[in-house]
Amino acid sequence: MTLRDYAIRYGFIVLLFGLVAYFAIAADGFVSPQSAVFIFQSVAITGVLALGVTATLVVGGFDLSIGSVATSAMMASAYVMVVLEQNAFVAVIVCLLIGAIVGLINGWLIVYMRVPDLLATLGMMFLLVGLQRIPTEGRSIATGMTMPDGSVANGKFSDAFLALGRHRFDFFIPNLIPVSVVVLLVLALLIWFFLEYTRFGRMMYAVGSNERAAELAGAPVKAYKIWAYIISGVFASIGGILLAARLGRGDIASGNNLLLDAVAAALIGYAVLGAAKPNAFGTAVGALFVGILLQGLTMMNAPYYTQDFVKGVVLVVALVFTFALSGRGRR
């Protein structure tokens, strides 16, 4: 291997460790279990979304609707519990169904209606942003709110549901690891195993790399593509559930930057270990990278408004790693 190969392969990991080392020295209290957990918690929701969008990237697609699927799921869970006064289980099921149905529609639009992926999911994004406001006429959902017909919503977020966002498991230190982090880790392991080790994951990569070759090798290409969008939708709705559980209300203003953060994490993932392709491990590292960077900067008192800029710089650098250095972009 040449120096260049090493740079492509390990460049981003080295950068990650360098960053940790720098913050460890420069920022007081950066190296502590609490700080680590905080980083994980901050990336949990975007991480889950990013893992979902990775599935669509693998089949050569893209899903821009994940952010709005997540916020729709958040609003839906609030509506189910607060207005319809149902329990946590029903709320979770409704959210997952919304994710699956949106994914199915996305896949159908792309595969059968031949709408380009970016446009189909962009359209779905606008549709959902609007749809989630209709039942409450644009208001956020919380216990005691007044409904459009003048009645008062008396339901409340059930404790079991809130626990998804607020409970912490003991791990050496009491009350250390939040549920959302566990969810992230489990989903990351699941999708990683699915993509790397099962025949379905392998075929999805084949579809993304050469659709016609995959079809002539006997793969039901359309079904694989639709499933990828369903995975993306369901993952996004899980992210929405975690968001709702953390906030404890259906807040129409939150979740604005979920899409950009998740997409950035997945695209940064291309550069990890020189994969030059979408992959679950890379996506998880990408999400972590962004989280560490932001946490470190925050602890060093960098102003909040510089965050998006820093994220953008990281993304651009990662894309240069992937496409220019490895030369995979020119096929």
Partner: protein, 503 residues
């Protein structure tokens, strides 16, 4: 007419790296004549066209246009000098989102001296003049994207003719036209011929060639292998010169088979085509040959379930066989090495090992988890079997030569036992030694299945098959046992003409 050539090419050479594509081509085009250029894939036709039209720089030789030296550096220069090319891909010649009038005058909108302001009235006036000169009856205000393929082609040609060329090159202009549409094109070509344009017409379709040709030039392996200009034109001779017939060092011993594997009856693969019936036997290697565009790939895809036949039935081992997808075909033991490996075979993101296992992942998995050890062992075994030259099974496909890439494609489908093994143009872009290896492997392993090859080059059929079938116009027109083949009859069948009674 000799000595009256308006366009002359002499000793033209071109190499890409060490690979010589044109080895000294000489060619003459005369005013008011259609010269047909024939050549199999890889003969160097498109390279020649690209040099003439100024896309590529020539490697050696000379070109003259009306006695003047002609050496275009860019396509625009060639057009200005009066040599205009209509490329095979129709959509390269038109801008789909603009109207016909703008398309016809597009070349006047840019470059030195073009007006800054777009004047629709003037554009329409100029376009009308161009259309009238050609007898083009298309609404000038229509958007090109709303036109039929044939009309688009007319617009592309009209656009080319707006420059009043001395030489017009048409590169496979009928490849995507229906026969009625092609008739309109022929009428136009006749009209241009009458106006004294020298036309170079590149085609594989014998019906086009019979209809239009005044002269035929055959190319093979980068050189002119035959010029035919005495009437009546010797079409079979031209096909023979293009496909070539060399002395075979390794004659094969033709086998015949008693046990039928696949029986095809009354299969119709194109609207209005005559039905196909054939039987493929166990242990037999059958080659179907025919020119490009006669339906070889359509038949291969029909057998593999990715194309629906218009009529007819297929029987495999006595049971009805009607695959509706590639998956069905694979499950029934019908494997296809598809034509053009880069677009329909190789998965670029996968290494050799993963390319080989691709169709058989289900059979290589337990509980849907891929058995990686089995996958690797299979890949290693297949690399060994086919003699793929590589460092290891982890090599990227892009690191392999064309011949080795093709070996991987064949190795992929030989990883499991087939009942019917179909290979569509398996020797395209494959060097001679890899071709020999693959052919030898196919013959050595032929027992237990039927093997069907589709090849354009007759040589390849003669080198590998026990039996040769000839296709023309979407049906099978001839059958030969590969022992003392009557080449005259075979070539006549390929050329699609009536048989000479003397032969």
């Amino acid at each position: 007419m000799v000595g009256n050539a308006v366009f002359r090419v002499e000793g033209l050479r071109k190499s890409f790296g060490r690979n010589e594509v044109l080895g000294g081509i000489s060619l003459e085009l005369h005013s008011g004549e259609v010269t047909v250029l024939m050549g199999a894939n890889g003969a160097g036709k498109s390279t020649l066209v690209k040099i003439i039209s100024g896309v590529y720089e020539r490697g050696g030789g000379a070109m003259t246009l009306a006695g003047q030296d002609f050496a275009p550096n860019t396509p625009a220069e060639a057009i200005r000098a009066g040599v205009v090319t209509v490329h095979q891909n129709i959509n390269d010649g038109v801008v789909a989102d603009l109207d016909v009038a703008t398309n016809l005058t597009l070349d006047r909108l840019s470059g030195r001296g073009a007006p800054t302001i777009f004047n629709p009235a003037r554009v329409r006036r100029e376009a009308k003049a161009v259309a009238d000169r050609m007898g083009l009856a298309i609404d000038l205000k229509a958007r090109v994207s709303d036109l039929s393929l044939a009309d688009r082609q007319m617009v592309a040609i009209a656009r080319a003719l707006a420059h009043q060329p001395k030489v017009l090159i048409l590169d496979e202009p009928t490849s995507s036209l229906s026969s009625a549409e092609a008739d309109r094109l022929f009428a136009l070509v006749d009209r241009l011929r009458g106006q004294g344009v020298a036309i170079l017409y590149i085609s594989h379709r014998m019906s086009d060639i019979r209809r239009l040709a005044d002269r035929i030039v055959s190319m093979r392996d980068g050189i002119v292998s035959g010029v035919f200009d005495s009437k009546p034109l010797d079409y079979e001779g031209a096909v023979n010169a293009m496909l070539g017939r060399k002395i075979h060092l390794d004659r094969i011993v033709a086998r015949s088979s008693a046990k039928a594997v696949l029986t095809v009856e009354g299969l119709r693969i194109a609207q209005g085509a005559r039905p196909i019936s054939m039987t493929l036997g166990d242990g037999e290697v059958v080659a179907i040959t025919g020119l490009v565009g006669v339906g070889k790939t359509a038949l291969a895809e029909t057998l593999f379930g990715v194309r629906k036949p218009f009529a007819g039935t297929m029987t495999m081992d006595g049971k009805p066989y009607a695959p509706r997808s590639a998956g069905d075909a694979i499950a029934a033991g019908v494997f296809l090495v598809a034509k053009d490996r880069a677009t329909s075979g190789i998965v670029g993101g996968f290494n050799i090992e993963r390319n080989i296992s691709l169709p058989f992942l289900k059979r290589m998995s337990g509980l849907n988890v891929i058995k990686r050890r089995l996958e690797r062992a299979t890949a290693r075994r297949q690399i060994e079997e086919l003699g793929v030259v590589c460092r290891s099974e982890k090599d990227e496909m892009s690191a392999l030569s064309g011949g080795n890439q093709q070996k991987v494609m064949v190795a992929r489908w030989m990883a499991q036992d087939a009942r019917l093994f179909v290979l569509d143009e398996p020797f395209q872009g494959v060097d001679i030694s890899a071709r020999r290896d693959i052919a030898a492997k196919l013959r050595a392993s032929a027992n237990g299945r039927a093997t069907l090859l589709f090849v354009t080059e007759i040589d390849e059929a003669l080198e590998t098959a026990d039996r040769i079938l000839v296709m023309s116009e979407h049906t099978i027109v001839g059958e030969h046992r590969n022992a003392d083949v009557d080449m005259d009859r075979l070539l006549a069948e390929v050329a699609g003409g009536p048989l000479h009674s003397a032969a």
